[in-house]
């Protein structure tokens, strides 16, 4: 019987396991499907990781290495090259591996940290032929950075998510021509620093409110892409077509938390995040099962994944050592121009000084204010100079504000100041 089984050994799982160990759990297992720990960080060889956490600029593998190093001083055990096939509310974890075959492991608590996957061409229904040369940005990144292969020479990128922006620069550095980055929305989905450093610095044009309307092929490979400007209803405007001769299309059109195990375990899901509904301590609707990182909601910065996951690991330790939290839960609702909140529920009695709340806004804001309401009553407000959908927002809700809410739920909203 394990005190804790952590599903996934990426940044979230590593931080959760470490933190649970620091809080006194002894018998901890990380199950990782890849042949090494670190998750997607291993292919993110650019720098910019760890500015918040370590106050320095690390590459992805360096950031992962910091946490893997920390693990060495603990008794946390790791199963690599091992796939979790099923978990359930009895805290059983079904795993399979070439070394050990099929096993059912039992744990007192579980942390879900499976990360996310990329949205594909099929999810957004791009018309055209289906030749080789259409990649998700992350797959192309893996080929380039881990396997050492170029996937193309003339590239059009659809979507301005961070991986796409990073790949625009990376492909350019390796000698490819990145002809355009095309974004459906009137604003970018990526971090401002990536727009500047990965597109502007390399004179790669960003077409906002545009999309790919046709992909053509020659001899089984992408040969041509048509791009159109979109009207207010996101419909292509005839006659605005831009034509690109290219051999490759990279897609950076969003990330989806990978929650098939979570759903199969009967854990309550939030359709807004595609992740589990979680409490203030990252506990899911099944007592003793926690979730953290991109499997709960997609983050921009790994630093915040680590912080969230440390809270989940600590909470798993508290669950095993002290038992289940019993406080009455306050529900968090998203109000005007806020697309979701994490956590979705807060047990105010169990909050120390303040509860962290993360969310995203639906549009770009300048000089704005975040408001917390209990019905009509304004409980708190927070000023922001700039907010954008591509940048996760965070507020700290003091305990006394939570205690003052009468209606059983509070609403987070955003507006111009």
């Amino acid at each position: 019987m394990y005190d804790l089984i952590v599903v996934g050994g990426g940044p979230a799982g590593l931080a959760a396991a470490n933190s649970a160990w620091q809080k006194g759990l002894k018998n901890i297992l990380i199950v990782e499907r890849d042949k090494e720990l670190g998750g997607i960080l291993n292919q993110c060889i650019h720098n910019g990781f760890g500015l918040h956490r370590f106050k320095e600029e690390l590459t992805g593998p360096e950031y992962a290495a910091r946490f893997i190093e920390m693990l060495k001083d603990t008794g946390v055990s790791v199963l690599l090259d091992t796939m979790v096939l099923e978990i359930n509310d009895r805290h059983e974890v079904h795993v399979i591996s070439a070394q050990n075959g099929y096993q059912v492991l039992q744990a007192k608590s579980i942390v879900l940290s499976m990360g996310c996957r990329e949205r594909t061409r099929g999810a957004i229904g791009i018309p055209g032929e289906r030749p080789a040369g259409v990649f998700t940005a992350g797959s192309a990144q893996r080929y380039l950075n881990l396997e050492g292969y170029m996937v193309g020479k003339r590239v059009v990128i659809l979507g301005s998510g961070d991986i796409g922006l990073i790949m625009a620069r990376r492909m350019t550095l390796e000698g490819a021509q990145v002809l355009a980055c095309v974004e459906l929305m009137p604003y970018s989905g990526g971090l401002m620093r990536n727009i500047v450093q990965c597109l502007q610095d390399w004179n790669i044009p960003l077409y906002l409110s545009h999309t790919i309307t046709d992909i053509r092929a020659e001899n089984g490979r992408v040969s041509h892409v048509t791009v159109h400007k979109l009207d207010e209803n996101r419909q292509p405007i005839p006659g605005t077509n831009l034509e690109f001769d290219c051999d490759t299309v990279l897609l950076s059109v969003g990330l989806i938390p990978e929650n098939e195990l979570t759903r199969a375990a009967g854990i309550e899901m939030d359709p807004r995040t595609n992740g589990a509904v979680v409490y203030e301590n990252m506990e899911t609707s099944v007592p003793g099962i926690f979730a953290c990182g991109n499997v709960v909601h997609v983050h921009d910065l790994v630093d915040y994944v680590s912080a969230e996951s440390e809270r989940a690991g600590a909470a798993a330790a508290e669950f095993v050592l002290k038992g289940q939290r019993e406080g009455k839960a306050l529900e968090l609702k998203n109000g005007a121009d806020v697309s979701y909140t994490v956590p979705q529920k807060i047990r105010a009695d169990d909050v120390g000084k303040a509860a962290d709340v993360f969310f995203r806004v639906r549009r770009v804001f300048k000089n704005s204010v975040i408001e917390v309401h209990d019905g009509e009553k304004l409980l708190a407000s927070f000023k922001r100079e700039h907010m954008a959908p591509g940048e996760m927002e965070h507020i700290l809700l003091p305990r006394k504000i939570l205690d003052s809410a009468q209606g059983g739920q509070i609403t987070i909203s955003a507006r111009e100041a």
Binding site: A98, G101, I215
Partner: protein, 478 residues
């Protein structure tokens, strides 16, 4: 000189080859693509139709009903995923009620078993998400769903095991009548065969015209589809057809054997070179039509679009027969071709007999095939599979739970795949919600290792579809 050359290895050519492989005859199958089942067979509705649709008295009616009846046992023997889940043809108006009645009567004449007309409420009891607008439906319990490329692979692999020679990437460019048979010109040199069977799908009119006077013209007709994630499979428990009308056969919604939901197709004649690209108009048409059957259908969980091309002709009938001396057409095989395939294969043998070719049966032909599918195994079977081959413990495709063992087995199967999509059709890797985003690079790696080729030579699909372009830092190493 071969006894028989089959031109084309879609499900029709494959089924014919399988049937012929039971006889003492030398058979060669010529396929222009680098894998089998690359045309209509891999991109269709994946339905084994009951047989109420074709006009009574046609070959289509007879072979559909006969083929349907053969499918279940064949799929058991050859280990092909098939389920007789039944189908509805939904009527949304009194006018369509009359169509349903007419289809019922046609079906009875065609010998379709078990047909019933059910009320809208009865339909919704069996398939709760069907539109409240449905007034009645034709229920055909003998309709089924199948994995069509696997069906063709099962036929072709078993034929190969029985000694049939398959030549891929071999395109027939001309046929010349010679004494006692044909000289067949191909891009890879000539060969000779006493009898030729034309199963060339969309190209079957061109092949026909090489040996016989022009008799029919293929009018390629494209159909576009959505594939939805497994989380949407619950939406349909039966094949949900709409009434055929002036706009075509209507759009269907059906579960698939991989527990996805399939929505489509439209029907668009194409002129010019055949391509299977999707179009914004086609996809919008499918969405609009499908909403009629199931208003709650949403596309948030779509995982792929595809399009297939039907070998429709200017004749409302399969073109099956002896078209010239020693030359047999299995041509113009449109819907219900997949359903009819095994019956068409029997027809081919009969026609060969009529041409005077009646070989003896082999004493012990292989008539069965077995595949290991980790995702459908019990815990004990999984444990046993890993013990026997540790590669069955390494999951490569996480969405579909396909192991390295299955992928390696596929690569060394009787018709070895030479592309990532070839592996996909055999093992199921990359079929799921991430569409190969995670497993693609691993499958490239495994193909490169098992075939002892550079990853740069690994194809996505057909010829020329190389995935990778060059090594990085090549000049630095040199």
């Amino acid at each position: 000189m071969f006894d028989v050359a089959v031109i084309g290895c879609g499900v029709i050519g494959a089924a014919a080859a399988f049937e012929l492989s039971k006889y003492q005859a030398s058979v060669v199958v010529l396929e222009k693509e680098n894998d089998i089942a690359m045309g209509a067979t891999r991109a269709n509705s994946a339905i084994i139709h009951a047989g109420y649709d074709p006009k009574p008295g046609t070959l289509m009616a007879r072979l559909n009903v006969a083929g349907n009846a053969m499918t279940e046992q064949l799929c058991k023997d050859l280990d092909v995923p098939f389920a007789r889940i039944g189908s509805f043809v939904l009527a949304f108006s009194e006018e369509e009620r009359a169509t349903v009645q007419a289809l019922y009567e046609r079906g009875v004449k065609n010998g379709v078993p078990g047909l019933q007309i059910l009320s809208g409420d009865e339909v919704r009891q069996m398939d709760p998400l069907v539109s409240p607008e449905v007034v009645c439906a034709l229920y055909a319990p003998s309709a089924g769903i199948i994995t069509p490329w696997e069906y063709a692979l099962a036929f072709a692999e078993t034929a190969v095991v029985n000694g049939v020679e398959l030549r891929r990437s071999t395109e027939v460019t001309d046929l010349k009548k010679i004494d006692g048979g044909y000289r067949i010109e191909t891009n890879r040199g000539p060969l000779e065969a006493r009898f030729v069977i034309n199963a060339a799908g969309v190209q079957s009119d061109k092949i026909h015209d090489m040996a016989a006077p022009h008799a029919f013209t293929v009018i390629p007709n494209k159909g576009e589809y959505y594939v939805m994630d497994k989380s949407e499979c619950y939406r349909a428990k039966h094949v949900l057809f709409q009434c055929p009308n002036a706009d075509g056969k209507g759009v269907l919604i059906t579960p698939t054997m991989d527990h996805n939901l399939l929505v489509g197709p439209n029907a668009q004649n194409i002129s010019g070179p055949v391509n299977t690209g999707n179009t914004a108009e086609g996809m919008a048409f499918v969405r609009a039509k499908a909403a009629q059957t199931m208003p709650s259908l949403a596309y948030r969980n779509a995982i792929r679009n595809f399009a297939g091309v039907r070998a429709n002709t200017d004749k409302d009938e399969f073109q099956i027969g002896i078209a010239a001396e020693h030359f047999i057409d299995l041509a113009g095989i449109k819907s219900p071709g997949l359903s009819s395939a095994p019956a068409i294969a029997l027809e081919a043998v009969k026609l060969l007999n009529e041409c005077g070719f009646a070989p003896e049966k082999k004493e012990h032909p292989v008539l069965t095939r077995r595949k290991k599918r980790f995702r459908f195994m019990s815990e004990d079977e999984r444990q046993a599979a890993v013990r026997e081959n540790p590669l069955y413990g390494r999951v490569i495709c996480r969405c579909e739970t396909v192991t390295e063992g299955e992928i390696v087995d596929a690569i060394h199967s009787p018709i070895p795949p030479c592309s990532v999509d070839g592996v996909k059709r055999r093992a199921g890797s990359g079929m799921g919600r991430c569409q190969g985003g995670f497993c693609g690079p691993r499958v490239v790696d495994i193909l490169s290792r098992e075939l002892n080729i550079s990853p740069l030579s690994v194809l996505q699909d057909g010829e020329g579809s190389n995935i990778l372009m060059s090594e990085t830092k090549k000049e630095a190493q040199a």
